[in-house]
């Protein structure tokens, strides 16, 4: 597993890609979930009772930042299939949409545009935010292990 990670991230381009994905996803989700505010002052806080939500955002961001570059590496360098890439993108998107709180600007726009259908969709994402994030993490974890396995086989790394 370490060998696979070393192989991918020995190329500096992938380190930069990982940093960009992690930073944008982490900061974006923290803003969406109201852990960080930019106006009128930059403020951050973790209210009591929301620690699990924060931990899930960290996990989701780390896994996405790890798996997406690994799959891009597989596609670019090894010209492999794009199947596993779908898993990593799907996991990241599911995890991110769960954080789009229905009372935030995104939820407001969706409800204003789609009416009761939008309200039902956003309230579902809000009500089941934690389980949805856990499912997204599970998808990413499965994608991670299958990606590592396939890289080991394709690159003929010693187990």
């Amino acid at each position: 597993m370490t060998q696979t990670i070393k192989l991918v991230f020995s190329n500096f381009k992938y380190v930069i890609l990982t940093s960009v994905i992690f930073t944008s996803m982490f900061i974006g989700l923290l803003i969406l979930s109201e852990y960080i505010f930019l106006e009128p002052y930059i403020v951050s806080h973790i209210p009591s009772g929301t620690e699990l939500g924060f931990a899930l955002i960290v996990t989701l961001s780390v896994l996405s930042a790890l798996i997406i570059p690994m799959n891009i590496f597989r596609i670019n360098i090894l010209k492999s299939s794009k199947q596993k890439m779908g898993g990593s993108i799907l996991g990241s998107i599911i995890g991110a949409t769960a954080g789009a709180c229905s009372c935030g600007p995104i939820g407001f726009a969706v409800i204003s545009t789609f009416g009761s259908v939008g309200a039902t969709a956003t309230s579902f994402l809000t009500n089941y935010e934690i389980p949805i994030r856990i499912i997204a993490i599970a998808i990413l974890a499965i994608t991670y292990f299958t990606t590592v396995k396939s890289l080991k086989i394709e690159c003929k790394l010693s187990p």
């Binding site: 009128p40 403020v43 209210p47 229905s102």
Partner: protein
């Protein structure tokens, strides 16, 4: 003479009908309302009663929804400190304006608070809703539950039920929603802090420290 008598009789009956009709229509929404009430650029005439000293130098206008999770979070984390340090000390007051958009039970919950206001229990009902919040449209804020909350507060149930069932305050809530949209509010909770010579917007369930900074910059 006979003709004259009929005309006078008709006029008399019409006056009596008019008087009776004016007393029998449902009470106007303007009862207890100061139609000219504004804070900064916001018309708060149809909003909540003022919490705190009406002459306080700062007014916090909160745009919220009773089903909003972040409003719940703010109510339990930042609001107690704001009430203790600014509202109870006469430095600030608070007005709640409904932006009831999250689900089908949101407008009804907002209307119920004004039915409670008719019995001078607006803030008690408001607090009860935020202490009882569950998932959006899970039934916690349906008509039956709202009546149960009113019962628990010891409100006159006949008055409360007729108010809620008739939709007496539906236009008032809609006015508040329109007012929020006109102010460019696009999420809940959003706060517009109106000071002696400026107003600032605070979006989201920000911590007490963020509000303190804004208040202190205005006083």
């Amino acid at each position: 003479m006979n003709k004259k008598g009929v005309i006078i009789g008709v006029i008399f009956v019409a006056i009596i009908i008019g008087i009776v009709a004016s007393f029998s229509t449902s009470p106007s929404e303007t009862v207890n309302l100061d139609m000219g009430r504004t804070h900064g650029t916001i018309s708060t005439a149809m909003g909540s009663p003022i919490l705190g000293d009406p002459n306080a130098p700062i007014t916090i206008v909160e745009f919220g929804d009773y089903q909003c999770e972040m409003c719940y979070r703010w109510f339990h984390t930042s609001k107690p400190q704001i009430v203790e340090n600014y509202i109870e000390t006469g430095k600030a007051n608070l007005v709640f304006v409904d932006l009831a958009f999250l689900g089908r039970d949101s407008p009804k919950a907002a209307q119920a608070t004004y039915c409670a206001e008719d019995q001078e229990q607006y803030w008690e009902f408001h607090d009860m809703l935020y202490n009882s919040q569950e998932h959006v449209d899970s039934g916690w804020a349906n008509s039956q539950r709202l009546k149960a909350f009113a019962f628990n507060l010891g409100l006159d149930m006949e008055l409360f039920e007729s108010c809620l069932d008739s939709g007496k305050y539906s236009k008032r809530v809609q006015y508040n929603i329109d007012q929020a949209r006109n102010q460019g509010v696009r999420s809940t909770p959003t706060f517009i802090v109106v000071g002696p010579d400026q107003q600032k917007q605070i979006g989201g369930a920000q911590p007490y420290e963020a509000f303190k900074k804004v208040f202190d910059s205005m006083i």
